[in-house]
């Protein structure tokens, strides 16, 4: 029984480059969430999906950030023209349904922008 899988686990990039972060949720989970966690901070909501639709993308910091989900499964978070302030751990979580408190998190993708 695989949990939520995220890749890459670590990514170092130069300022101005684009990056893609991938999330493989638990099979059958309808809801998928992206959060960002800066060092020593709490979790900042970015976006969530119900199936392939994103009812709430209010947390995306700017238009450089986008996310998609295909086939009700894999999701990709894309950051264009990365900035140093984008450095953080990007966490993905899934759950069988929306409106639940029990999310299953992956171990995150640590992004460092030089």
């Amino acid at each position: 029984g695989a949990g939520v899988s995220q890749s890459p686990s670590n990514k170092v990039t130069e300022k101005g480059k684009d990056v893609e972060l991938r999330c493989d949720p638990i099979s059958g989970h309808t809801a998928l969430y992206w959060y960002r966690q800066s060092l020593g901070q709490g979790l900042e909501f970015l976006i969530y999906f119900q199936g392939n639709s994103a009812p709430d993308k209010s947390g995306l910091p700017s238009d450089r950030f986008s996310a998609e989900r295909t086939g009700g499964s894999v999701s990709t978070l894309t950051i264009q023209r990365t900035q140093q302030e984008d450095s953080a751990v990007y966490l993905c979580a899934s759950s069988p349904r929306v409106y639940t408190g029990e999310l299953f998190f992956g171990e995150g993708s640590r992004l460092t922008v030089l």
């Binding site: 979790l43 409106y99 029990e102 998190f105 992956g106």
Partner: protein
Amino acid sequence: GESVGLHLPTLSVQEGDNSIINCAYSNSASDYFIWYKQESGKGPQFIIDIRSNMDKRQGQRVTVLLNKTVKHLSLQIAATQPGDSAVYFCAEGGSQGGKLIFGQGTELSVKP
């Protein structure tokens, strides 16, 4: 904006003692409240939740208390063990669609 915050950023306890981690929330429309545990280098792990129409819920060695009058949530851990050392986050849900809103976290350190 709405927020969920914690009273104490760090908590140090002796192994075997009980731990109490506190959280204040501001949104009275929240339907449920949750506690997560995050160990170093890992994603948060669900511990326990409580619905807004309850004031107490117990799990294995943990109890969550909800005081809606003062908008306060607490997590009690009985007989704290070294494996309980982690950062604990409170979160609330149901007031802003399907997302959870997390607080800043409390680091629990258990001394042997």
